[in-house]
Subunit: 378 residues, 2 copies
Amino acid sequence: MKKKYLLTPGPVEAPRRVLEAASRPLISHRCGEFSELFKGISRKLGRLFESGQPVVILPSSGTGALECAAVNFLRPGDVFISLSCGVFGDRFREIAARTGARGIYVDAEPGSAPTPEAAAAALRENPGARALLVTHNETSTGVTVPVREIIAALPAEGRPLVLADGVSSVGAIECLPESWGVDVLCTASQKGLITPPGLGLVWLSKRALDELKGRECPSYYFDLKLHLKNMKPDSYANPYTPPVSLYYALDAALDIILAEGAPAWFAKRRRYAEAFAAALEELGYELLVRDRRLRSAGVTAFSAPGDASEVVRKRLSAAGYETAGGQGTLKGKLIRAAHYSDWEMPDMEDILRAFAEAIDNNSDDGYLKTARNIFENR
Amino acid sequence: MKKKYLLTPGPVEAPRRVLEAASRPLISHRCGEFSELFKGISRKLGRLFESGQPVVILPSSGTGALECAAVNFLRPGDVFISLSCGVFGDRFREIAARTGARGIYVDAEPGSAPTPEAAAAALRENPGARALLVTHNETSTGVTVPVREIIAALPAEGRPLVLADGVSSVGAIECLPESWGVDVLCTASQKGLITPPGLGLVWLSKRALDELKGRECPSYYFDLKLHLKNMKPDSYANPYTPPVSLYYALDAALDIILAEGAPAWFAKRRRYAEAFAAALEELGYELLVRDRRLRSAGVTAFSAPGDASEVVRKRLSAAGYETAGGQGTLKGKLIRAAHYSDWEMPDMEDILRAFAEAIDNNSDDGYLKTARNIFENR
């Protein structure tokens, strides 16, 4: 049978070894073996983030991790600045607004990103803002927001807590919360971490840990202090039952990423994205993100010639290549293809050939040579 | 290698077929195949509950399902009556109290259960109570609370919403929310549903659906209306990424339960529990729950002769039989052994022999005959 490709930007195709890990016999989440598994994952996440700060693991989707950040750090009456350039930035602010905090909204057009200048200006106008919400990778448009530069543009004094959505960046795109100055970084298992969905992850800075002291959390489920209390140096546990099989899977996935070395892994995803985009353009597809520096290494958004994106998506799906469409105002207008998985050049060639066939492009295979050249030599 | 037994009351040992289902290649949660999988699970849950009412599936633990019930149906200033006879009843009320609602606490001793009379009396004294919280199976003591009888004892007029915790009952113990008059039934994947942990389930009565209308939910993640809006008759979807692999696993587990027929499956768990308890008593263990009618079909709590429960648990663990201990005030004083899994008589014999060895009981195998007689003939 012909291989099928899951090109949706989450869940992404998980490596076979990761899926097999998810079928190991279950163990008690109160035994030493589980504690060691959890500690091992923490150490590996520490290597990914280049940080020894704790990462809480929730039985949740990425949306749950974002809600966890919001309910632990925002209260009714607080002001937060929310930077958004798409559906997921909008979702983060909606989650935050339900805490009763008031949002100052800074928007960028789909396909572009909020700028450091816009963030700094919003903060000057709202000097008492408690938090700044930013989405590192906007999955709906394939834009990677320059979080590092945005944080660098903020004044050091009276700086709001930076709550970052790394759901579709972590694991695939360099994201160093400690050195960049992020306070709370949320992510999930099913994208850059090439694991099945079901785990939400929340990394916390020293300042974030300090802020938690003396605060009551209105949610029991997302109470970070309850989670941290269970993560003692000698034994790592959870306040309630964790998805044991997905811990096994995440552990196996982190081994795959770290065996290559995180920077090398990120660089490969970047080369893949650039090679893929160049070949798509050569085929006649139009990329949504014009500024190359903003193009995501995890997901690429583009449209088919002649406004035929939805027709092309159906043809791709019938051929075994499952993509995602546009969301929100871009519904029906986009094709989104992810490249978080551990694909190599033969996979990209298969995929690109399918994209050529789907628009009846019978040109020679120059587009494949372009892709190979970038992926292998850049 | 000798077989190991996971006797903890969650996660429980999942059948091989269920674990294998969890390792299937991932699919997009926005494709038709996933919608069919979700719909199939819904139909199967409908057979288990003997109800056509919707069941929302959350990426969460059972605690998350309980929080979902609380945040959708309780508001600051509401009064709720909470019946508790152990750690999990106490947890449910703590979750509910964080909404700002005020709890009226009705307690029963560990090993006993709240009575219908006590519930009715509390309601007479608090006629405006918005909700009654009840735990169907108290995992910390192995007590099954007579939820059906408790609801029957409530006046029909001005009845509070009944929010039931079925986390450790559903799948193993008959639980018919619609015919019993439950309004919101919460459960999770990893106990009676013999699936790995990671899914929280929330069944909703007609009245509960009505109550949701016009209400704003303070939580985005647990917003039931958002979930229900995505469950259209022709396509079942989720508002955010569901744990796809665990849906596969739950589907396989429901097939195993329903192939036997839910009532037959429940009866077998009941016979297993009775046989197991009788053999344990014959060996010299002391059962916590004196009233046989309250003994859980899912989990049995007991102590080893001579206050040696913790020593015995360690010996069992070293031999490959992982049990749970007591919780809260019963810490160190109990052994808890679950029997949610699809174990047959040979498994029970293995397990009982280990329990005999762990207390150096070298008597003849009369206790095994007792067990066999009850399991096979009752």
